[in-house]
Amino acid sequence: MVAANHQPMAKLNLNLSLAYSVSNAEMDTITFDNISGQLGFDPAASGMALYDYDFAEVHKLSDLDITQWDVSLGADYQFTPRFSLHAGINYIDYDEDEVFLADESGSAYIAMLNLTYWFK
């Protein structure tokens, strides 16, 4: 994360914030001991259905790889002691590089403009 704040003039304040996040969740390859000789049936020729105890691809089914960005820029200008203006933009990104069930990737863009008036 990076954040910065700058006040170039007495009435103007600028700020920046940037957050980058990478999240991974992985399961190692699942390997079972070789038990073929101990089974009461032949997995490759069973009567009802075939069996395959090679789980080499199973671990990938639930892997997660998510990248997130959150960038904000903001400015505040104090016109008078009672009146100020705030402007800001925000970009957020959520990216699934390994999809689990459904791809929930998305981006959002937000811009805002607000006036502030004080009655003192």
Binding site: H6, G106, M112
Partner: protein, 586 residues
Amino acid sequence: MKRNIIFTLIVVFSALLCFGQVMAQEAEKTGGIVDVKINPGFHWTDWDDYRGKVGEYEQLERGIRPDVGITINGKTKYSYFEVQGFYYEDMDNSVYADIDLLRILSEEFSYFRMPHFFEHDPLTNLDACFCNVAGEPTPAATESEDLNPGAEYFLRYSRMESKTTFRLPFLPGSEVFFDYRKEQRSGHRQATTLSKCSSCHVVGQSRTIDEYTEDFNPGFKSKFGNAETGWFTLAYDYLKRRFGERGDDPLNRYNPAVHPGTGLDVFTNRIQYQDATLPFNVIPSSEKETHTIKLHGQFPKIITDVFTSYVNSSAKNMHTQAESELESFVARITNSLIPGLIVSGRFKAMDIDNDDVLVQVNERVGTAGPQAGQTYSQIYTEFVPEFLRKSALNRTVYEAELSARYRLMRQLTLDGKLKWKSTDREYYEVEPGDTQTDEYTGRIGLNYRQPKLYGYLYYQHDSISDPFANLRAACSPSGTNVAGATPFTGLQYFQFYNMRQQTLSNIPDNKDQIKASFSWIATPKVSLNGYYRYINESNDFDWDQESHIPSVSLWVAPLSNLNFTLFYLFNYQETDSIICEPVFDG
């Protein structure tokens, strides 16, 4: 649309200007002070692809939309008040108010709404069909149906809290309070259920959520005494909680349990219900009552602090009328008579009792095949369908703790803790024949503190005998011979699963933790923070976990009007566990 928005903004802004001006003028007349701040504005939002994760708790509506905020605070001769309101979107707004009348009556009120988006599982991973040695599909299959494909699931969450306090001028140090809290969630979530024994058929549909949680929490607190004998504070509060789900329970048509190959009705006596539309995902209403009484004593003359509390709580499932009761007693004494040394002793006893529930299994008579005319328990006589559900929640817990902190020098303290906790579950075994878990914790730490540099380092070890575990989680790796099992005769699933011997658990019986942190103000323009946490856990069931969490943060102000903060965090956790795949050619 754009013209309407601008017009609305102008009207709202003007109204608030007038309102604020009037309030300030009126306050001046009466000698009060009022500050009013208004924040009208607008925001433009757009999003791509899916908005449910990028804005999980935000209402992201495309386009330009107005928002407005107002803050009023001030005081009059008899009151102080603060009100804040903010409207962003219809699902995203808040109000906060704090009113104080001569410190006799004060009211703190807050309300906010926000959305919460949820995942929509397309269930597309579930379609599968067996393959036989000839490469042909065999009858059994798994399948899925999403009855609301593409539906966006979210809830509107709102929380209202009100804290009313009446301080008694005629009884100094005493107050009576009434707190009220209400949470509501409304919207839709995905609900899934399963029919089996023609295929494994998972159906997903939208479930209406309209739930509320309401807390009524009156009580009183009173402080009395003096510096000579000591100060005592007595507090009592009563909590009444009501939870209800007003949304309709979803209905599902559970499939006829026919043999997928022959179509014969041979599973009737193995299935409690089939070929029927029944509710699922039923969320029971509940009520909870809690009485809490606390007594705190401060004895400045002997620098001793004493605390004791008693809690009696009961929670009831309003559908089944099953009830659980909790009683808890805590006592603690802290003393710092020896210069530089603070010693604290604590004891806790807790008892939880959950009603037993008689579970009746709907046994039906077989209608076809080898088991026609008989129920399942008539064929397999060792199987007893009805059982008394004895809860794993029933327990008695004791805790004792001794902790101490010694000031080695002005900036440096040494602290240590020893803790014992014993949990005796009445019915749930954590080892064959044993329902008790004992935990022992030891901790030692150093804390250094001076104006420009402070930090701490501590080490903690936890030893847990017989942690919570699943005793019959998996078959023993040495194997279980089930040769000769054929459909409908021979070894049955319930017998097979009851022969499991391997215990599995993700709770450690040994845990070591190291935690270190420092904060250094190098110059008035530069400061550095560092942090590291290491956790190593393992148990006797071939499970272990290791975590590393380092972080560093740097703050730099190269100029008086410019500053930067850089922050890096890393979180790594690795878990090793055995995984069991049972072998059953059935």
